[in-house]
Point group: C2
Chain length 384, copies 2
């Protein structure tokens, strides 16, 4: 079954490295990250790629992508410092978090960042004051089109298009450069038409701004490109064909510059989380399902299983007849249950000490780990 | 409003300490922990108190409780090592997590732990092998009685009573000492009758075991004692009166030894989380609610607001007319929203940079912090 996700050579490398090593830990295959980056470059040759550092802020991942020529989207001044420390120049960075303190804007500006994203008046005023003259993307609220993603982005980010227009005019008045429109269709978005609606809305804003004699130059499509979980995604080429078609339909011969911010889409498939079964329990003699408690859970790597949102493929070397299981983590917290309603099936022969491999866990795992919840240390990561 | 939660002297101490200090951070008032511990001792004079280390594993809290004579309930060998490092002797510890690796049981046993909790056959066999002769509590599944707690414990822990009986007999056969029955009515349990049902079920197990000529000696009631959040709880004296009444009704003159494992009930009220408003946004001109984004969120301290479970009182020094708000954290994660459906009201005059004080945040906050999600560091804690 792992064969649907990893070639034999990769899998052998994972097993060899894992043998006799204390679980839990995450392995990230850097070659897979490189391949994915090259796939993005090949499929979106004219786009600028800003890796979303938050997906996996490992120094090894950032260094690799730095050497490959990637740009980086940062969520905080802490991510900014990490990128700068690795020798990434500030003109390869965008500060894409709409939520930022005035003094953090100033710090980013002083360190050379000139590209920001905004979605409200208070932030625009802070940007005008602390980062004068900077380029700004204005983020659209995408609540109408994100319902099909596994990890939807809700109303937290962006604002309604009419308000975006007002903010762009205000920004121009205050000496900023309204550079373009940004949106995010929701992480792990498998419904490609979500981009259609978003690009259409961006196009309307380009038009409105032109009526005000201001010319926007770029669209930042954020992330949303999926990794392969239990349900597999379309290949990236299908995304690029469709998205380019939408762009041509809306913008004709004057397609704006395109910025992409893949995170999960770049590093998700590259990770394998190796865990061990701690114990297996039934709650009564007649219980139809087994509880499998593993040494990894919501609070040391599997945060995205909250609400059973992301369904990672789970591989075990044991074979034979399978049965329904509930998967839970090792802490005393009742929330620390990965899958209870979604029916995973695992071999009946599983025992305490057997290993479970969680596939496609390269994104949004280790960095989400709690610092010491129930005393458990954060998830270790090894880069191969 | 803070006056409903903290005496003026405490509040003054908090404000003085907070001035000009970079937010976010948590302040824990050690005197309040001491008072609470003494309140537990006064209200449950014959009970053994095992502080649930996971609620707040700060060295300062553990040292204080060590000096006051408390016992400690640990959730992992990592918490075990911390307690031992602080000079707590192993006979003051119980390993209360039902989910534990065989080699971790061995390690705990080698370090002197002789009191464990179990709920399934695989774990009982591991205990018999790795911790021979130890005392074991058997945890009951409490799904029927936990629905009124704010943070219910679901079916993850414990097993049905008939299975407990089988496990106790097995444990005795294997040379362990079936010591008693444990249960947990759900954290932040405000409905005191939940203890009635649980004690009743424990009593039935004492009876069944006596028919098998085995005598249980103790009931471990776990935690569940509440902190004061937006909805205030009954004073501890009401809990102790009611619980003692239930014990007398079921057990008459032969009330077993009582073990309590307060966590939240001991340290929850002692904490104040000091944060700053990053920005305030509306999503359209006609938006009726403001989004208030603070520098603390789900992933750096407020994990228990997930699903809007725990509703912390929020205090601001600004006064005047109030309006509906949605409270969200500083990360690029759409899940990082504390309160959207529950209607908080805060002053209309609030601005970026204003401080917000989250009251009763001493439990389950700092230790839940992500190690570096979006680059943000874990929540700092100061003990006053």
């Amino acid at each position: 079954m792992y064969r649907n996700y990893y070639p034999s050579a990769d899998w052998k490398k994972i097993l060899t490295f894992s043998t006799n090593r204390e679980t839990p830990f995450l392995i990230v295959l850097l070659d897979r990250v490189r391949q994915k980056y090259e796939e993005f470059r090949a499929n979106f040759p004219s786009a600028k790629i800003y890796y979303a550092v938050k997906a996996n802020p490992g120094i090894e991942v950032l260094s690799l992508l730095r050497d490959l020529g990637s740009h980086f989207d940062i969520a905080s001044i802490y991510e900014l410092d990490r990128a700068l420390d690795l020798g990434v120049s500030a003109n390869r960075l965008s500060f894409g978090n709409t939520i930022k303190k005035a003094r953090h804007i100033r710090e980013a500006y002083e360190k050379g960042v000139r590209l920001f994203t905004s979605d409200c008046e208070m932030d625009v005023r802070n940007l005008a004051k602390e980062a004068p003259g900077s380029r700004v993307f204005f983020r659209l609220l995408m609540d109408a089109v994100t319902s099909d993603s596994d990890w939807p982005l809700s109303r937290k980010f962006g604002c309604q298009p009419r308000m975006s227009l007002d903010l762009m005019l205000l920004a121009a008045d205050l000496g900023l450069e309204p550079y373009g429109v940004s949106f995010h269709v929701g992480s792990q978005q498998r419904e490609i038409p979500a981009w259609d609606a978003a690009i259409g809305q961006a196009h309307a804003l380009f038009d409105w701004m032109e009526q005000k004699h201001l010319r926007l130059k770029a669209i930042n499509m954020g992330g949303g490109f999926p990794a392969d979980y239990v349900v597999k995604a379309n290949p990236l080429s299908v995304y690029s064909e469709e998205i380019n078609r939408y762009l041509n339909q809306y913008f004709g011969s004057s397609v704006p510059k395109i910025y992409l911010e893949p995170g999960r889409g770049l590093v998700g498939d590259a990770g394998v989380l190796v865990s061990e079964i701690v114990t297996i329990a039934k709650k009564s003699k007649t219980d139809l399902r087994r509880w499998i408690y593993t040494d990894v859970g919501i609070f040391n790597g599997l945060m995205e299983t909250l609400g059973e949102s992301i369904k990672y493929p789970i591989y075990t070397e044991k074979k034979g007849e399978t049965g329904d299981v509930i998967m839970a983590g090792p802490t005393c917290d009742s929330l620390d249950i990965m899958y209870e309603h979604f029916k995973y099936q695992l071999p009946l022969s599983l025992e305490s000490g057997d290993r479970l491999y969680w596939l496609s866990t390269g994104a949004y795992t280790a960095s989400y780990s709690a610092i010491e919840f129930n005393g458990f240390p954060p998830l270790k990561t090894y880069y191969l």
